[in-house]
Amino acid sequence: MRDLIESALKGLNADYVEIRIEERESTNIAFRGRELDEIGHSTGKGGNVRACVKGGWGFASFNSIDDLRAKAVQAVEQARMVGNEKTELADAPPVVAIVPPHIVHDPAQVSLADKHRILEEYLDLLWGGPEIQTSSLRYADGHRTMYYGNTQGTYTEQARIDVNFWASAVARAGGEVQQASISMGSLGDFGLVHRMHETVAELPQKAVDFLKAPQVKGGEYTVILDPILAGVFVHEAFGHLSEADHVYENPKLREVMVLGRRFGGDYLNIVDGAKIPSLRGSFQYDEEGVESNRTDLIREGVLVGRLHSRETAAKMGETPSGNARAIGHQFPPIVRMTNTVIEPGEATLEDLLEGVKEGVYCSNWYGGMTSMEQFTFSAGESYMIRDGRIEEAVRPVMLSGNVFTTLENLDGVANDLEMNEGGGCGKGGQSPLPVSNGSPHIRLRNCLVGGR
């Protein structure tokens, strides 16, 4: 493969060209209700060429890797249509590396019959109660190998194995339908699927409880987030804003996102990094061949860094952070998060609860989105806090806030860090990208809660 890529890259009339070839294989199993809905096996092969001429980009993606040279020439011609400035890419030392996948328990070593049997155990757990109307249970594993070369002498081969597991129980009474769900993933560890029993067993009762739970009245509350939902919060409320591609060509945003700006209290520290090993967002080299890193984003409440591709780093005069990622060969790499974490503080959950007269305690997650200025995310479960105690369940709430003021209103960070490895991130039409996020319990003052 190296010869194929390197010979196609030779002698092209461009400032910069890179070629990726991808091979992937995946298995998925899905149950709807008690019945198996889908079981399938997919294989894929494809690649792309990305070229830069005078600051303009050309990109060609394809499934057939025949005549790679012609495709490279085409991408260069496309780039030439665009470019009329100067190509700026931050320096990245050339590397040649072959990186095997991180494997704890390879799903490829588990037979289809065994995967099917293990999932059936979960079905029984999901149907624990008369009000359960239906359930959904899905499993997927994927093995992806990427071959990458560029005209600056970098060549890498990297492989990764992803495992995903989703379960949800749907309860119904009269015209009301409620569901409780869980999403989990791992990098190279099928063992995940063996560890979900306790969590899944709780879902049917939770869904039934939601049916009876009242809806919270919409408005501003003091909100305490559990570590899982706080992970989603840091991803949505701050992580996306730290991606330099949103900022680098918008002069006004560059003023707002100037390094040194205060975002929160002294106890607030946020980092991102793929170098933290064995998490879902971990890897050795990003999709521009830049070595992964650990980037401080907020240190003691102050903005100190951001996430870069080689282009955004060059244009902002900063160092590439190894955050250029793509979900597959159909897409060019863009700036993405990897593993994003609020570092633990000193407080305990009890400290955070103390003195909260009326508030909402939210745990687990359903989803989240951001617009840079505003963000929303939704809880999997919610409970009222009254006089410092977590009390009755309410319908899971959706929370919303302003990126710039919410971090200021984050006034408590506990000491109980946990990572959330479920779900996936979407940006620029590329979804889901494996990421992880994590946090200890945190407290937000004046958080907007949607409701009746």
């Binding site: 995946s26 998925n28 199993i29 709807r32 019945e35 809905d37 889908e38 079981i39 399938g40 096996h41 997919s42 294989t43 894929g44 092969k45 494809g46 303009g56 980009w57 990109f59 060609a60 993606s61 394809f62 499934n63 085409q74 496309q78 780039a79 249509m81 665009v82 289809l112 019959a113 099917h116 239906t134 749907v170 339908v177 409620q178 919409g218 060509e249 918008n250 945003l253 060019p332 989803g367 989240g368 989105m369 951001t370 840079m372 200025e373 505003q374 929303t376 995310f377 939704s378 899971p396 959706m398 919303s400 806030g401 302003n402 004046n446 907007l448 809660v449 949607g450 409701g451 009746r452």
Partner: protein, 436 residues
């Protein structure tokens, strides 16, 4: 062809077989920060095989067109674990051709897309120099082939051209986002309409106003209906949710549960509309039928398998990607218009909220028809006039409840994103909460 080879090979191992293939090419040109950033070509192709043996379904897919034996082998390997088949693949039908291919669109090259995009971005940048514009213009041609062991052979090619543009206006930490979209099968994009809509949004958003809160009338623009209400509404009609009995509409077929002014069609037979098609992704003829007729639940959306499970007939609503089996879904949703103009809706209220786009739509319990979202772009109405853009505002409600108690139905339907024809709605019973 490869598809015939796969079908012949698969028939040796199965009672029934079906091969689905797609090949497509698209040329997107993208703009960043008011200027051309990238010119792309994206080619993709692949095949999927479904087989039925002893009442069970096997499935596999690949993007490697040479791998015919592997494709068949993996589908056969899945059979012992496969889902129970509640269907047979269909025989060939007499199709009424729905045109979705235009030679002019197919012939578009990147240079002409750059011309369209460049003119649009240049005009927007000149009119609104403080706004940073991003955009994309793309052309695409896609061919679908479907073959099965009962002799069905169907092939369709469609073309499309689309544009999307996004403006960001930053004033310190106050940010405004506006979006415009258009698409068509023909090379007839109405860029002037996109510019006019963006101009109206930017004018209304110029000032910031405080949002009315509580249970206030909420006016949904066509874009907002598509963005927030359609998802939870259509989930109730999806054959999968009917079969699972997780739709609130089961046992409601034939009942009037929405306002009698509401009629909703799925009409994939509209010529040259993106999403229209001659046959669905299982080879069943596509037809026009109502989901809601004058407030009465009229039909659900089925593919072959869910129809078999529900004891119903497929509605030709199968949709699929390459790597997954078909499932039912809507193609081209048309909501019949009413008799209130958008201007009348606004003029008729002492206090109201107009909503345009959302952040976080589709989260939460959509199965039950609930919606909840942050208002990304919306305006306050006072004394019958738009006073400015609202911020830090959330809306929540239940789609069935608000369509039962509908306030007014718009008389000026718009094509949203090319495949949805929707009027504005004025709804009661939406909760609005806001910060300070």
């Amino acid at each position: 062809m490869r598809e015939e080879e796969v079908l012949a090979l698969a028939q040796q191992h199965a009672d029934q077989a079906e091969v689905f293939s797609v090949s497509s090419r698209s040329i997107p040109v993208s703009y960043e920060a008011n200027r051309l950033k990238s010119v792309d070509t994206r080619d993709s192709s692949g095949m999927a095989l479904r087989i039925i043996k002893d009442g069970r379904i096997g499935f596999s897919s690949t993007t490697d067109m040479e791998d015919t034996e592997g494709l068949v082998g993996r589908a056969v390997e899945m059979l012992p674990f496969g889902a129970r088949a509640h269907m047979d693949f269909p025989e060939s039908s007499e199709y009424t051709h729905v045109p979705t291919y235009d030679e002019g669109t197919a012939a578009l090259e990147s240079a002409s897309l750059v011309e369209v995009g460049g003119a649009l971005i240049e005009k927007l940048h000149a009119d609104f120099p403080d706004v940073v514009w991003e955009g994309r213009v793309s052309q695409g041609v896609s061919t679908t082939r479907l073959l099965n062991s009962r002799g069905l052979v169907a092939e369709e090619t469609s073309s499309s051209v689309g544009l999307g543009v996004e403006g960001t206006l930053v004033r310190d930490t106050d940010m405004l986002f506006v979006f415009g979209r258009a698409s068509s099968c023909k090379p007839d994009l109405e860029t002037n309409e996109v510019i006019a809509a963006l101009t109206r949004k930017l004018q209304w958003a110029e000032r910031v106003a405080s949002a009315p809160t509580g249970q206030v009338p909420v006016i949904f623009t066509p874009q907002a209906v598509a963005g927030l209400l359609l998802g939870p509404l259509l989930a109730g009609f999806n054959g999968r949710n009917i079969v699972q009995q997780s739709s609130p509409l089961i046992e409601k077929l034939g009942s009037r549960i929405l306002d009698p002014r509401i009629t909703v069609w799925d009409d994939p037979t509209n010529p040259f509309v993106p999403g229209s098609r001659t046959f669905d992704d299982e080879g069943v003829p596509a037809t026009r039928f109502p989901l809601v007729q004058e407030g009465v639940i009229a039909n659900f959306l089925y593919d072959l398998q869910t129809a078999g499970q529900a004891g119903a007939t497929t509605t030709g609503s199968a949709h699929r990607g390459l790597a997954s089996q078909p499932g039912p879904g809507a193609s081209v949703i048309i909501i019949d218009p009413g008799d209130t103009t958008f201007a009348e809706m606004i003029a008729g209220h002492e206090k109201a909220l107009v909503v345009e786009s959302f952040l976080g739509a589709g989260q939460g319990n959509i199965l039950g028809g609930d919606f909840s979202a942050n208002v990304l772009l919306g305006y306050a109405v006072e004394k019958g006039e738009v006073t400015g853009r609202v911020k830090d505002t959330m809306v929540a409600g239940n789609v069935y409840a608000i369509l039962e108690a509908l306030g007014a139905l718009g008389s000026e339907p718009e094509w949203v994103g090319g495949s949805l024809q929707i009027p504005a709605l004025c709804c009661n019973g939406v909760s609005v909460s806001s910060k300070g």
